[in-house]
Amino acid sequence: MASLIIRRLASALPVLLLVSLISFVLIWLVPGDAAAELAGPSASPEELAHIRTDLGLDQPVWIQALHWYRNLLHGDLGQSLLLGRSVAAAILERLPVTLSLTGFALVITLLFGIGSGTIAALKRNSWIDQAVMMTALVGLSLPDFWLGLVAIYVFSVALGWFPTGGFVAFGDSPVGWLQTTTLPAIALALTQTGLLARMTRSSLLEVLSQDYIRTAWAKGLPGRIVILKHALLNIAVPVLTVLGISIGILFSGAVVIESVFAIPGVGRLIIDAVLRRDLPVIQGGILIIGVFMVTVNIAVDLLYAAFDPRVRHEH
């Protein structure tokens, strides 16, 4: 297991290097003179020069890259053009908000995705199965931020059950946290719940047709043991694959959902930066999320090995 962990970490290194390179390269994609473009048409020559030095655009490219990587190694993502503070500090301060929202959405996804997928597989071709699969497909087809807007209208404006936006930290008031995160978490989780339900169903159907499941039934094991121990544990690998992808989508979905519900998380920070073209914050934001995703993928790969001895002994 230890060698597997080391090998997996080593193989992630080139990807991490490229991920940081892509974030760095973003500044070259700004059409024309990046400093002029970011400063806007009304900027004075002094402001222009200021931005140019701030971003290091007056240096040759290789010096810029060197700076970028040297600063990264020190945990320095540069200075925001507009917030007057370091990008890393701004992101770190808002990360707990986003993590608590995506964590909540992930719990909903897991519970309802695996639950409804399992029921659909066990009641194959019944009306329950068809209803679950149709709901899953509809869920996959909805724009999640739009669902958030509809939820705000129905549950906050018309019924008045929830606030229309804002955020209360769990530490300050668990009830307040629940009130402010329930709607966004559900809107966020819906598409991924659909995806996970479909995956759970199809993997479970495959497993249930295996000989050892028939043996388990034949030797008189109770249904819950057959389903929980023999069947569900064996769909861990495909489900984990979907889950790894889902976490990424939940995270990027949170970016948009946070601005729908006025939640002050990393997503809001990035979207505000997008609107005001605060490039260092955009670069830092997507770099952090890219690195987070690479980490999630490593964790998923290692979990494969933990769940499935065949993966462990493959090499």
Binding site: V19, L137, S141, L142, F145, V150, M199, I245, V274, N297
Partner: protein, 299 residues
């Protein structure tokens, strides 16, 4: 029992392999209820947007301040927005922008994705560097990378298409590469090479046609996510610029009026949902017929 007797048995006769007639996959597709439902939905949406000039009751751009934020009624079926513009007309014309973006992203990402996937899968020396770069691009959650790219490139239809293509082409590349890796090991590829076929001919005549199934399923998937992604990009302000309507920017325009005039955002979102559902139904049908083993993947 002689061989003739066995063959004469109707049960055995029914199971005997026969040369396929016509297009069995096409026939299966046409009998696939969900696929046909999706296809009909998509055709209706396509026709409605293409015929916007004929069926839209008003100009999508004409302001009429007497009817600002009007609720849906017999004259304005989907109500009016904050400029008094008819939402139904805007949705009809907006479909052109949204569907055109979806189509362009499908074409561009299929072209570049196939090129990269074949390069990686067929020429093993290119495989590692090319696919590591694709891994890195896929490390970013799709919509987020598109938002960052569109924010940097600037808001225009072309920039949105470029941003989404960079985001989704790597996913196509990975699928094509996987298919090519399987096909490349087949004996008929060796046979073609022995017969003197060059790389390009082998790729074009043998590798690509045999990788087509997963590729087509992937194309429906990209069409669906591009329509959704256009809406997201518009919502965060980096989509196709107003006043030209797109489904996404109509939703975005209506956002501030959710409490008083929810219909502005409601209807374009519903139309997106119906269209994407249609495309997803077609994708599921194609998956059933072309590639039953293919699992849900990507995004």
């Amino acid at each position: 029992m002689s061989t003739e007797d066995i063959l004469a048995d109707p049960a055995v006769d029914a199971a005997r392999p026969r040369p396929t007639q016509g297009y069995p996959r096409l026939r299966r597709l046409l009998r696939h209820r969900l696929f046909m439902t999706g296809a009909i939905i998509l055709v209706i949406v396509l026709l409605a947007t293409l015929a916007a000039d004929l069926i839209a009751p008003y100009s999508p751009l004409k302001n009429d301040f007497r009817y600002r934020l009007g609720a849906p009624n017999a004259v304005h079926l989907m109500g009016t927005d904050n400029f008094g513009r008819d939402v139904l007309s805007r949705v009809l014309y907006g479909g052109r922008t949204s569907l055109a973006i979806g189509l362009m992203v499908v074409l561009a990402s299929t072209f570049f994705g196939t090129l990269i996937g074949v390069a990686g899968g067929y020429f093993s020396r290119l495989d590692n560097p090319v696919m590591r770069l694709m891994d890195a691009l896929m490390a970013f959650p799709g919509v987020l990378l598109a938002i960052a790219l569109a924010a940097v490139l600037g808001p225009s239809v072309l920039d949105v298409v470029i941003a989404l293509t960079v985001t989704y082409a790597p996913r196509t590349a990975r699928i094509v590469r996987a298919a090519v890796l399987v096909v490349r090991r087949m004996e008929y590829i060796d046979a073609a090479r022995v017969a003197g076929a060059g790389h390009l001919r082998i790729i074009w005549r043998h590798v690509l046609p045999n990788s087509l199934g997963p590729l087509i399923v992937q194309m429906t998937f990209i069409f669906a996510v591009s329509i959704l992604a256009e809406a997201v990009l518009s919502f965060v302000g980096v989509g196709p610029p107003p006043p030209t309507p797109s489904w996404g920017n109509i939703i975005a325009d209506g956002r501030s009026y959710i409490p008083s005039a929810p219909w502005i955002s409601l209807f374009p979102g519903l139309v997106i949902a119906i269209t994407v559902l249609g495309v997803n139904l077609m994708g599921d049908g194609l998956r059933d017929v072309l590639d039953p083993r293919l699992k849900l993947e990507g995004r």
